[in-house]
């Protein structure tokens, strides 16, 4: 029982990171058909922002506000510089370009900062624990889950209640018709990138509050897992991406805690195998609609 509660909390915490990353990826994918590998570097930029700000003694509430902002701006710059010239290009062209942008940024971090991990000097309270009955819970994990839930509710409200949010959902449904309706397409796409960047920044806050070290490639494995969550949730389905992000987080924690000692090194492989197995049964994903030749 005790272990189960710990696993649930760890799963929620890891799943939150995946869910936020997957949501940003799904948002951009559904609007412009871009599998954005460089999303991982937005996340890494969040990590470096935290490192730089804490290093200069900036108080933590300011860091919490600035990190997602920096990531949002970086995402908008990325859209403007790299992806706008390729509007309407094929899936493969966009994919390769984002792969190249991702590699470019990693190399820039390597040359400009360092190839070695940089330690983030987190404020002391992140190591605090709270006692609930007989359970000891790291408070940062509770904060993580709470922040994710708040962000998800806020995003849902934004997408349902504001004009721009409705435009974004409409763009995800049918971009051409949206343009025919006289909506400024560039603004919608730019804003989708900004939102995905802010979500990546939030994910970075949550993730680096527990790992406290960032290097140029930190984002890559996480974003690949987040992609897998997007596929599992059903391409283009925003609620699906969130649900699948949590499923992936739980699966990872479960395999890591339940596999016998000699097999724990393989846990990520098992998780991926299970997901490929799930996709065999439901190629359209958990909440997706059937599409393509599946």
């Amino acid at each position: 029982m005790h272990e189960l509660v710990q696993n649930v909390i760890n799963g929620l915490s890891l799943g939150s990171t995946y869910a936020l990353l997957a949501l940003g990826l799904a948002l951009v994918f559904s609007i412009m058909g871009l599998i954005n590998f460089a999303h991982g570097e937005l996340f890494t930029i969040g990590g470096y922002t935290m490192w730089w700000l804490f290093d200069r003694g900036v108080p933590w509430p300011l860091v919490v506000v600035l990190t997602p902002l920096v990531c949002g701006v970086a995402a908008m710059l990325m859209e403007r510089a790299a992806f706008r010239p390729l509007r309407g290009a094929t899936l493969v062209t966009l994919l390769i370009t984002s792969f190249a942008v991702s590699y470019f940024l990693q190399t820039v971090f390597q040359i400009g900062i360092s190839a070695a991990p940089e330690g983030i000097e987190l404020p002391g309270w992140v190591n605090d624990t709270v006692h609930v009955g007989s359970y000891t819970i790291a408070s940062v994990k509770l904060v993580t889950t709470a922040v994710t839930l708040v962000a998800l509710v806020a995003l849902t409200l934004f997408l349902r209640r504001t004009r721009l949010g409705v435009s974004m959902r409409a763009a995800a449904e049918d971009f051409e018709v949206l343009r025919l309706m006289g909506v400024n397409a560039n603004r919608v796409v730019l804003f989708a990138f900004a939102v995905s960047g802010v979500l990546a920044g939030l994910a970075a806050l949550l993730f680096f509050a527990t790992t406290a070290a960032v290097d140029p490639t930190t984002g890559t494995p996480l974003v690949i897992n987040a992609f897998i969550a997007v596929i599992l949730g059903g391409l283009g389905s925003l609620p699906g991406a969130v649900v699948a992000g949590f499923v992936l987080g739980f699966a990872e924690v479960l395999f890591e805690s339940r596999l016998p000692g000699s097999a724990t090194a393989f846990s990520n492989a098992f998780v991926l195998l299970v997901i490929i197995g799930l996709l065999l049964v439901r190629p359209q994903g958990l909440l997706g609609r059937p599409a393509g030749l599946t």
């Binding site: 899936l91 994919l95 190629p283």
Partner: protein
């Protein structure tokens, strides 16, 4: 065999002969200069040709970009290494080998062929699952295959030695042998591309729904291309292992995947000629840049102390250049022979038709 069947086969073989001649000329240049560094560069080029051609067989014909070829390359490389490392060394190097593998000591050729076969089997099994998906889902599923492979190479220490790297792989790579494999890969890829399977698969690349609606079993043809590309990538991995002498999981993960994809894109995805040309251009650029890697650079205003990752930056620049300026790569839709002699059986080619 009907005349039509003979003509496409003759055409494919003639086209590959042209590429084979080019590869031979490059190899001859390697021999002629005979200085060790040049020979090594040409060997690297020939291995890259096998890699890119392997990728082209699947991605070029099906239109689904694969980031997973290095999984097959790794399977091939570890298979070939385990089969050729001196049995006396194996008990100390690898603690988790089954008894039969512990004593196995194959020649270069049989080990490479077994490596290709094993990689082909892995492709067959993974293809059953992955090829059920389409479009972006397929791309990500293939990428997850690469991740799974990396975890296995890293964690199965008894068989792969994990991140520590597997060494004492016999130095069996010779320029001549590599040339033979590169030519064989080109011929296989070209014949597949021009065959009925390849033609229908290319049709599905242009419009999968239309192809399926006229009864083309798209998934079955994708599977054929997937297995053939798995075999070729496995062979390429084995050749790489013999060439390097030491392999570790990073040799089969994201960085080399990126390099191979750049070659594929720069040359042009739709042709075997493009695969060869891309391997040539990118290998050349890599070799030109390599001496400057890790050197300081004083730009007057900016003084970069160490250019770690200069090769990566150049690769990125190459790929972005192609994406923004010439999306179809160096060779768009036509093979070299088609560019030289036309695609509709112009007079010069009729003599290859045997009539």
């Amino acid at each position: 065999m009907t005349a039509a069947a003979r003509s496409w086969l003759a055409r494919a073989l003639a086209g590959s002969a042209l590429l084979a001649a080019l590869l031979g000329a490059v190899a001859l240049y390697g021999w002629q200069l005979a200085s060790a560094p040049n020979e090594t560069k040409v060997e690297h080029f020939l291995i890259n040709v096998v890699f890119v051609v392997g990728l082209q067989v699947f991605s070029g014909n099906s239109g689904i970009l694969s980031f997973g070829q290095m999984a097959f390359a790794g399977v091939g490389a570890y298979t070939a290494s385990i089969l050729t490392i001196d049995p006396l060394l194996k008990p100390t190097l690898l603690t988790g080998l089954p008894h039969t593998l512990e004593n196995a000591h194959l020649s270069f050729l049989s080990a490479t062929l077994v490596a290709g076969a094993v990689a082909g089997c892995v492709a067959l099994v993974t293809g059953l699952a992955i090829l059920r998906l389409d479009g972006a889902s397929a791309v990500i599923a293939i990428l997850s295959l690469l991740l799974i492979a990396d975890v296995v190479f890293d964690a199965w220490i008894g068989v792969t030695r994990g991140a520590g790297g597997l060494y004492a792989i016999p130095d069996e790579s010779r320029l001549g042998r590599l040339l033979v494999f590169a030519i064989a890969a080109v011929v296989a890829a070209r014949v597949f591309k021009d065959s009925r399977s390849g033609l229908l698969l290319r049709g599905s690349r242009e419009d999968a729904f239309s192809a399926a609606s006229v009864g083309v079993p798209v998934r079955a043809y994708r599977m054929r291309a997937w297995v053939l590309s798995g075999i070729l990538s496995g062979v390429a991995g084995a050749l790489l292992a013999f060439w390097l002498g030491t392999i570790s999981p990073t040799n089969f993960f994201l960085a080399p995947t990126f390099a191979i994809v750049v070659m594929f894109i720069v040359g042009g995805m739709n042709t075997v000629t493009g695969a060869v040309a891309g391997a040539g251009v990118v290998t050349l650029v890599q070799e030109l840049v390599r001496p400057h890697e890790d050197q300081g650079l004083d730009l007057g205003v900016v003084d970069v102390h160490r250019l770690t990752g200069l090769t990566q930056l150049v690769l990125v620049a190459l790929i972005l250049l192609v994406m923004y300026v010439r999306r179809e790569g160096l060779f768009g839709r036509r093979e070299l022979d088609e560019l030289l002699f036309g695609t509709d059986g112009s007079p010069r080619l009729t003599r290859f038709r045997g009539r």
